[in-house]
Amino acid sequence: MERRKFIKNTLLGTSATCLGLDIVFSSNLPDNYIPIAFQETDPFALFNKDKDMQILNDKPWNIEAQAHLLNDNITPNKYMFIRNNGLIPEILDARQWKLTIDGESVKNATSFNIQELKSKFKQYTYQLTLECGGNGRSEFNPPAKGNQWTVGAVSSAEWTGVRLKDVLNDVGIKSNAVYVGYHAIDLHLSQDPEKEVISRGIPMKKAMQDETLIAFKMNGKDIPRAHGFPLRLVAGGYPASASGKWINRLSVRNKVHDGPKMESPSYRVPCDPVAPGTQVKDEDMCIIESMPVKSLITFPKSGAIIKKGNTLKINGHAWAGELEVIKMEYSIDFGVTWQSCKLEKPANRFAWQHFQADVNFPKTGYYEVWARATDTNGRSQPMLVPGWNPKGYLNNACHRIAIKVS
């Protein structure tokens, strides 16, 4: 009996480990039920994700990459983080899909189906970096509540769609337009169909940029279900929550949009810096727009052991929200000295940039390679976790990997 139990638990434990999951499902298993359905709840199969992706949360689904998984110049779906506030909608019939443009500041509220969008407006493809506002939250002290993202809530895929500004110009925008808010069909965790999960948006200056898309393709294919099929907004350089998924309505507002998660303190940081742990009043929190300068060493994976005398080739990506990265450096002595990396120009505005360097180590021992990017405004990444904020946003501290020279 004991042995049988041991086998049971071992097997369950093993399958759960393979899935990278805690055994949360087992609590839902009715008696005498053989969970072959385990396969259907395997998120890696469900969302076509690599099995080394890290599951932070399975209800709602929140999954992040690890630095070394993000080595591709253009992020493939299998390494793209998933961030959800609610429940991912069921597969939809894209032919029935309608996108309505309305709001106080629209001249003629209009609906388009996807075919109309595709045929009426010119299509564009851009590589756009999307980073979760809370990427790096796990490092804040005192801790901030929410999904404890480490470094992997960032991606830079190619998005194809029509320019939001072309669509807005077509329906006509009044001069008092302030913000474009999105509405989508994901379901709230409370299962109340009337309750909107998240309805954020972007100011008009962002809406009118060439690269801000109503997208229907990611990396040349239909957008994967978890990433917004059949339509999503893509506003590169802003917190990724501004790029609404599964959108069916865009409202042009005569004020800052007031949907769920626009309100304080969501996606806001203190307007003036505060000491760690400070309680900040709602009215003293300001909406995050451009994400800060940041970089990741995507090769090698942390923990590499190399032979003395060998040169270590490192590479990675750097991005700077709405700005460009103009300088990329690395340090093997905790910031005492910095050496420059070779840095490429972005494929287009808001695409991440690639860097590489040949690193030599003077003697055997333990090292960390730290990477630091600088943007066009001369701002660099801090080596410490930057200004504490109640919700744990905007941690752009230098990324580092461990290296041993033997």
Partner: protein, 154 residues
Amino acid sequence: MEQQKFRKKVMRIYYALSVFFGLLLLLSAGLVYISVNPSVLIPSPKTNSNAYVDIDPNRIENGIHLATGFKDDDGLQVVISQCTPCHSAKLVTQNRATKEGWISIIRWMQDTQKLWDLGANEDIVVSYLAKNYAPENTGRRAILTDIEWYELEN
């Protein structure tokens, strides 16, 4: 004689038909079973299928409640009943907060996410969380831990 021959023929046809309908019945039963349980056609990993049958939802190993990942302590069952209907236990266990912090998270969920009034359970939940998921002082930047070392050929 003729009659016996005829009788034999009839019996043969009767047997043949019985076998035919018998097989048909088996086949349709099989098809119905498959349509109800399509999973039988999916090859499952070679495991003792009994292995999953009676998982004990109360099983605790190394101080962890296996089914949820929660730490085993007073109030565990109340925490499971109050904290996991809408979201995964993972959303709780990855977070750290003081007693005041956990209370403010509960208030936020009540104000904006349709969480109910926990009543007398609130004290139990908050005490459990504040004790088992308390913040640690990690300083301004933690050292790298859990490094998986490997030989890099270059």
